[in-house]
Symmetry: C2
Subunit: 218 residues, 2 copies
């Protein structure tokens, strides 16, 4: 199975802007990507990063020696160009911000049968996908999990849903950082802790807190 | 296995206040409870509702004939009073707002081995739990999933984590209504659709939209 991990390398994770600076979002996005690539590799697959631009070979990502393809087209176009043609092997598409992904959760995805296998993400996203049907094409705009189900139905492809909290949790907004601190011990979680992020418990859901006096290079 | 479903019957779901009136929150909370009880019943278990107050027997809940116990003490106290003593059977605690729960996701919970089985919820909650160890006690305040892991570790009880998007999605805030519309065809989803709620797609995560001109008794 081909496993691709799309990565928006230019100004990633803008919705974390209220909490992280531009440089921090860049570093945090890379940390999550490294976690995702590690988890995929542990399942015995070799991921290919499809990045919107080149990133340095001196960083942890370059050193790990993963395949990187540069493709600055919109996400859906870049993914569709890599989906299987007739006779090709299956293709998995795993988002780069699934900081909670584990080898076990990804094995559940890769091992599931079906022409199209979908792990839904919070807010209507398609966080991970396996495509075995050559006529299936993605459309990540809007409520993509609903659209992908409909596209599969139109071409009479079978759909399998993956019920995974870990794969369903993409890290987009400040409130999502709680999930990283609670459910991961990877590089992204370590990055947050080193910068002073901790859990803030009060009424309702837990939030993250960051002391104002923690220097940004801490 | 004993399965209990705690239900805060007095002014439930206050954090849905920006979107639903008090009477609507009451009706919606009951619709979600009915969905959860149905899913539990489908697994072959008989749920017991532990409600903070009596509710009418003329509604769908009363007609379904589920056991209801009244207990107006705080959630953790009411649950701890019902956890197994030495020699007792296992107890499962399933929250009443898991509108996405299905028989399959609950079977995964009930069938998992371990002294304590935890299905984490978004924002640090403990959405569902199975307790087989008599010395374990719950504490739902704050980041309960972390606290429950620590309590289990202290008493040397084994912990099994359930990786389920459906059990991990409790419906507390307006943004959560998207999940009900996308991933459920139960009574709560029908209730929302009848009142004009639909998906609003734009940048970022999908939101719900409700036309201003839909009458509240529609």
């Amino acid at each position: 199975m081909q496993v691709i991990v799309p990565f928006a390398a230019s100004e990633p994770k803008t919705r974390l802007g209220p909490t992280l600076s531009t440089a921090e979002r860049d570093a945090f996005a890379h940390a999550m990507l490294v976690d995702v690539l590690w988890a995929i590799t542990e399942t015995g697959h070799e991921p290919t990063v499809v990045s919107t631009r080149q990133f340095g070979s001196e960083g942890p990502l370059g050193q790990a020696g993963h395949d990187v393809e540069i493709d600055d087209r919109p996400l859906s176009v870049a993914v569709n160009d890599r989906l299987p043609d007739a006779g090709d092997r299956a293709t998995a598409v795993v988002m780069a911000d699934l900081a909670l992904a584990t080898p076990a959760s990804l094995e559940g995805l890769f091992a599931a049968t079906g022409d199209v296998v979908i792990a839904p993400g919070r807010g209507g996203g398609t966080n991970a996908l396996v495509v075995r049907e050559p006529s299936f094409r993605v459309d990540y705009h809007g409520a993509s999990v609903r659209d992908h189900r409909e596209i599969a139905t139109e071409i009479e492809a079978s759909v399998t849903a993956i019920d995974s909290y870990r794969l369903g949790t993409d890290i987009d907004e400040p409130a999502d950082l709680v999930e990283v601190l609670l459910h991961s011990d990877g590089r992204a979680a370590a990055w947050l802790r080193e910068r002073g992020f901790s859990l803030e418990t009060g009424d309702g859901r837990v939030r993250v807190d960051r002391p104002a006096d923690v220097p940004s290079n801490h």
